[in-house]
Symmetry: C2
Subunit: 429 residues, 2 copies
């Protein structure tokens, strides 16, 4: 069910290319359909949203917003222990993310010059949350809490109704705990369009975040520029680097926790120990048989899973930096020593007791991470994702006079003489 490769500097790199390409494979192009939906919602507002909800979800509410009373009533039926778990997770996420908050600043220079950078939260953010089997309350926490900490004035969530016309209660509970201000019962490309343009009932937002199916992802892509969006996530990945001190039982479990996501998920183990590789292979077979989602796991491991035996750990590090995985576990002696060497990864899990699901749900760092090798240049979702910055410049007459000759020379060299004129006109007789 999983390939074992002896690293030879060739096979494993062709494997990287295959992994990076898998995000495009099989996705049908729905941009025609989605364009029509967007255009219809832009023109006809709530009426269009209503029609699409009826068509795609079965039952459609006339009033799409869920009232505060109704929210409380819905949450009543959630498991009380689960609510406590959500609250603990939310506290950890808030504690980690508050350290990312950037301050506005100013600096002064001679002649009374003042300059600076203002940092402030986006006015209104829209959070899309899928329904059905892909309904993940953890994703509500991970998206809404950083937006709240960034100082966004209003966080608006939208989630599709289930067949009976109601929302998933766990999602609603997570939204309330995370500080979501308003919740709308609508899904799909129509919900994304409603957030981007606003309708009679739905307010227009500045940025849309959150996962979704191909229709939601395509709508976000098409509306990028009208609003800001987050990264479009590809299939999930884990890369584990392990030496002989690692526990094969743990490693097998962690590889499969990634593999269960979907058939395109990728789980790779790199080790310098061939005995460990064999033991992990055996553990995969043993544990997989006991798991609910074993068919998905088997298919994902078969297609995109691998155990690669490296000549040494530095070869493993090079491979990890080249792959730039979303999740990277280090199950080695002295794991902290790897922090400065692993340059490309969304999130790094260090040691034998930091399994990836700890980060998915609980520890505090964000679980919205760059996929498909984009950790080479993209970053995890963070408070930064929900702020806008602007600079300001205040010059005095004497300060501008000091620099006037240089600025005029610069403008003239670039052939922009009206730029030069705007300086010199201020010092004409």
């Amino acid at each position: 069910m999983i390939t074992t490769v002896i690293a030879n500097g060739k096979d494993e790199y062709s494997f990287i290319d295959a992994l990076k390409l898998r995000s495009n494979s099989g996705a049908k192009d729905v941009s025609g359909i989605v364009s029509d939906i967007i255009e219809n919602v832009r023109k006809n507002g709530d009426k269009a949203v209503y029609d699409y909800t009826l068509k795609f979800d079965g039952k459609a509410p006339l009033e799409v917003e869920i009232s505060a009373d109704e929210i409380d009533r819905i949450i009543e039926c959630c498991d009380k222990d689960y609510i406590k778990t959500l609250e603990k997770a939310a506290a950890n996420i808030e504690d980690f993310h508050k350290r990312q908050i950037q301050q506005s600043w100013l600096t002064t220079k001679e002649n009374g010059v003042i300059m600076g950078q203002r940092v402030r939260g986006l006015e209104r953010v829209g959070l899309y949350v899928p329904g059905g089997t892909a309904a993940y309350p953890s994703s509500v926490l991970m998206n809404a809490i950083p937006a709240k900490l960034a100082g966004c004035r209003e966080i608006v969530m939208t989630t599709p109704p289930s067949k009976d016309g109601t929302p998933n209660p766990d999602i609603i509970a997570a939204a309330k705990i995370a500080g979501v201000d308003r919740i709308f019962l609508m899904g799909g490309a129509q919900a994304v369009a409603a957030l981007a343009y606003g309708t009679e009932q739905v307010p227009k937002v500045d940025k849309i975040v959150g996962p979704g199916n191909i229709f939601v992802a395509t709508a976000k892509k098409l509306l990028y520029g009208v609003v800001d969006i987050d990264m479009i996530a590809g299939p999930s990945e884990i890369l584990i680097i392990a030496d002989k001190t690692a526990n094969p039982k743990f490693l097998a479990a962690d590889l499969m926790s990634q593999a269960e996501h979907d058939r395109l998920a990728s789980s790779i183990l790199l080790t310098d120990c061939e005995t460990l590789a064999q033991k992990v292979k055996a553990e995969l077979t043993r544990q997989c048989a006991l798991l609910e989602r074993k068919e998905i796991i088997e298919e994902s491991l078969e297609n995109y899973g691998a155990i690669i035996v490296c000549s040494d750990m530095s070869q493993a590090i090079d491979f990890a930096n080249e792959l730039a995985p979303e999740h990277l576990e280090v199950c080695c002696e002295n794991p902290m020593e790897y922090v400065g060497k692993l340059d490309n990864a969304g999130s790094v899990f260090l040691g034998n007791y930091s399994p990836e699901p700890l980060g998915d749900y609980f520890a505090g760092p964000n679980h919205v991470l760059p996929t498909s090798g984009t950790a080479r240049f993209f970053s995890p979702l963070s408070v930064d994702s929900f702020v806008k910055k602007s600079s300001f410049i205040y010059y005095t007459e004497s300060a501008l006079k000091n620099d006037a000759e240089d600025i005029v020379r610069f403008a003239n060299t670039e052939g922009l003489t009206a730029h030069a004129n705007s300086i010199s006109v201020r010092f004409e007789e």
Copy 2:
């Protein structure tokens, strides 16, 4: 040549829509041609770049990299005073941007938990610099200096050869002063593709920044995801808010400094003083006649210029926040008081002696700014644009044991039982 509107809460807002849409108007779709160029460069590397350079630029070098000796020889022929101006501007830009540098951090929690966020520069950044009449050395400084400060290991610049096969010396001088590491003589979509995929001579980069024509912009858009890119800039804008204390001569000069950029540039004045509006109108006519680029200025003012007389300054502020202009000048008494009220703008210029060209060339803040109303959610180019972040988590056995029950409950609620297994397997007998 310019429209005067008395604000009525309707006309000026339909004007905003027209402005935001102008970036799409008239741009032909070259994605077919550009796709072919990208594919050819990806397959055939330097050979393809050579062929396109020959075809589009007239003369093509076999070796695309400009050697260090040649760089020094080229700079020899630049004006010495201009070099000094470039150096002063570079020092100001560095001084402002170094305040944006973010530090990696870590935090510890009970039971020996360590978590943190690593911030580091992208490995290699590519800077595209147009040739011909759109060759702006200021743009080299504004793009390369923040990348350098971010800690990028290598900054690679590419610029097309002129008809005689040589680069623009001022561009080369700015590159050396800004700390660009390697310079390649190639332009157009082929240069962008070479940076994204790498060729025999050109190294692959992680992010491509810098302005360019429709072919360059389209290539960047198509390659987004293979590499990161900066914002695709729309036409330039200035909005000036002025009260009766402002100088009409200055205001007219500043409006035209924006208008001279191109026929799609937009220059708008908002004031609560009708007398001032009339005086600025007269000054526009007077000064425009004296300016080299007067035809562009007249056309731009005619189409996208306006003087809007507001009922009071708070109406002007509302309009500014709605328009979210790239450049925003405040020529009012006590201009610093506006800093906290202007929420959407790329860069804010305060007072009668902070004209927009001061920011284009010299003061220090970046001149690469969000256009077409996107300052509602985008930020100026900054050191942040050239870093990647990742989080790391180190949990001890006792720390994970403490949280195990919550994590298992969370995973099971989401139906991800292999996630739950990865926690529980660690505490089995």
